[in-house]
Symmetry: C2
DNA sequence: TTGTATGCGTTATCAC
DNA sequence: GTGATAACGCATACAA
């Protein structure tokens, strides 16, 4: 519709009048859903340009049952941190625009009702849910929504749902392997907040890390990091003689604490992390890390989602995004050879 | 509309049928735009509940010319950083929901076309533009959009626009005053990226800082921080004998660098910053800082915006959100007295 | 206090 | 290849 210079709204009817064709022809020119002679196509297109016509989204949605909108459920208080969240959101938005869709924000705070609201009100054509919990009430709700819903993360009962996530298990194996040259490993892992939140990737990572350590015959201590006690916790770990640290959260504070203790990663001890590249490289000594690749996860999620919207409905399923490790300078004796492939379970 | 158990869409007509009233009555019950007898109100409400009816957003928008959507233009690559951005977005989303609106994300990358797209297509009732530039082409475009547009930041030509921002001038004065006990001040200020981006608050802050320093008879050196050279730049500044540092960006790296040089803020030198509370308190020695209060700015922006939408159209104008300083432990001899009020220009 | 009827701006089915 | 025309689901002016 847009607005004409005179302030009135421009509709496809106006375009039709100017172009000297019927309104339906205008619609078909825009959608390309039926053959149009080159002559009328030009006529219509010129009228559109001249009037700067833009179709009315509401009317279009009403008539076509398509909103061209993807709703994204955002956990603003995510333990992921703002940077990770933004990476997800940006990538999702980009992908959406590439498919001529827009993104509607829904706060995770709204819970399952939020899903019902945007789906039931026909505000969107699909939903992306971030930071899924193990026992996530939204799983059941999503099952009988009128729109396809994609979960980033794996709920315990993923049956009939579309779920995708980073391969935390493989990430854990890579990190443990990188450290475990016969030394015992201390994991500065997600703490109470993450556990209380029932984040599904925490146990996934933890179990895989423990299994990998066991398989290599080294001990693994899991220290649940508390945001406000990092300094003390790191001191304890170091005092206990640990010199192989695996950090999954609060990397900045941990590195600070290590340096406060007069130790240097890569020189006095080994430190690896699960962190974004930006976080891992933000220190004087860049940290060897497995990135959770939020952008890759988002991209794949959106590719999948648009596949679903185009009818390649595909069975509900669960997908993983591969892990890889980037060696930097925070480990004293990196294992020989190039960055290893993902180790099998 | 939602969906009935049978999978069909539920409309207000269905509700009307079940309640034994006319469709318009259903509409009026929902909107409250005309008196309804308690009896039929109950009838209708029961039918709504029973059918879990939800109005169709597209139809509603089409009929009412109201989308109940606020578009937010997000600069994903903001120098503000992810945390700041998220704070803005969250607060905007919360405010929107409180007014029964939703938030549509638009990437700043789309530029002025993005504004035209969402306004012209009737995808939203209003637009919020973040991170406005001094010479911002979106200013001119916003002037003849069919929806009210609120700028967070001040373009050079704010005429006829609604603009709001943190009071960077007052912030600068507070920070300089806090440091300027006769010592010269080094400002580790926004660097090339911010300058190239033509961010309007950079010159605002800088000019005010310089004037405040001049007024107090102290010298002020402005060092444009380059993300990858922070360490060296800080060393230079310290080598030059500076012991009063004012940081506007990259606080984490600067503090790292200072500590690497063997100095401790609050003990060996004074350090104040323009930073969010979260950033300022993330160090062993919490930093005396002026917060840009992204949440306050957002809240006020949204309050203003909804005022506009409700017809309190108000003249176009420019508004500032007051600055205040929080004293922590990074300054050796804090000025006596409580946190001072905003100094006049 | 309630019902009837029209319009919002598209899409898509018929008919030509 | 093109033009009428009937939905789409709701809001609201007009009647009663």
């Amino acid at each position: 519709m847009a607005r004409a210079a005179n302030g009135r709204t421009v509709t496809s009817k106006d375009v039709a009048r100017v172009a000297g064709v019927s309104q339906s022809t205008v619609s078909y020119v825009m959608s390309g859903k039926r053959p149009i002679s080159e002559k009328t196509r030009r006529l219509v297109q010129d009228a559109i340009d001249q009037l700067t016509y833009q179709p009315n989204a509401g009317a279009r949605a009403l008539a076509s049952q398509r909103t061209q909108v993807i709703a994204v459920v955002v956990p603003f208080d995510s333990t992921l941190g703002a940077a990770g969240l933004m990476a997800f959101i940006e990538e999702i938005t980009l992908a959406a625009r590439q498919h001529d869709h827009d993104v509607l924000l829904v706060t995770a705070e709204e819970g399952g009702d939020g899903l019902r609201r945007v789906a039931g009100g026909a505000l969107c054509d699909a939903i992306v849910v971030m930071e899924v919990r193990t026992a996530d009430p939204r799983a059941a709700i999503a099952r009988d929504l009128r729109v396809p819903t994609l979960f980033i993360g794996f709920p315990a009962d993923a049956d009939g749902l579309h779920c995708i996530d980073f391969d935390f298990e493989a990430g854990a194996r890579l990190l443990v392997t990188e450290l475990a040259a016969g030394r015992r490993v201390a994991v500065l892992g997600w703490g109470p907040e993450a556990t209380e939140r029932d984040l599904n990737y925490v146990p996934r990572f933890r179990r895989a890390a423990q299994e990998a350590a066991a398989a290599q015959g080294v001990a693994l201590d899991w220290v649940p990091v508390e945001r406000d006690r990092v300094e003390a916790q790191v001191q304890d770990v170091l005092a206990a003689g640990h010199r192989s640290l695996l950090v999954t959260t609060e990397l900045t504070r941990v590195v600070h604490a290590v340096r406060s203790a007069g130790l240097q990663p890569g020189t006095d001890l080994d430190l690896v992390a699960l962190a974004t590249d930006a976080d891992a490289t933000g220190f004087p000594v860049p940290v060897t890390a497995v990135s959770t690749h939020p952008r890759d996860v988002s991209r794949q999620a959106m590719a999948w989602l648009f596949g679903l919207l185009e009818g390649n409905s595909g069975e509900a399923q669960v997908r993983s995004v591969p892990a890889s490790i980037t060696r930097r300078r925070s480990v004293r004796d990196p294992l020989p050879g190039p960055t290893p492939p993902v180790p099998p379970a």
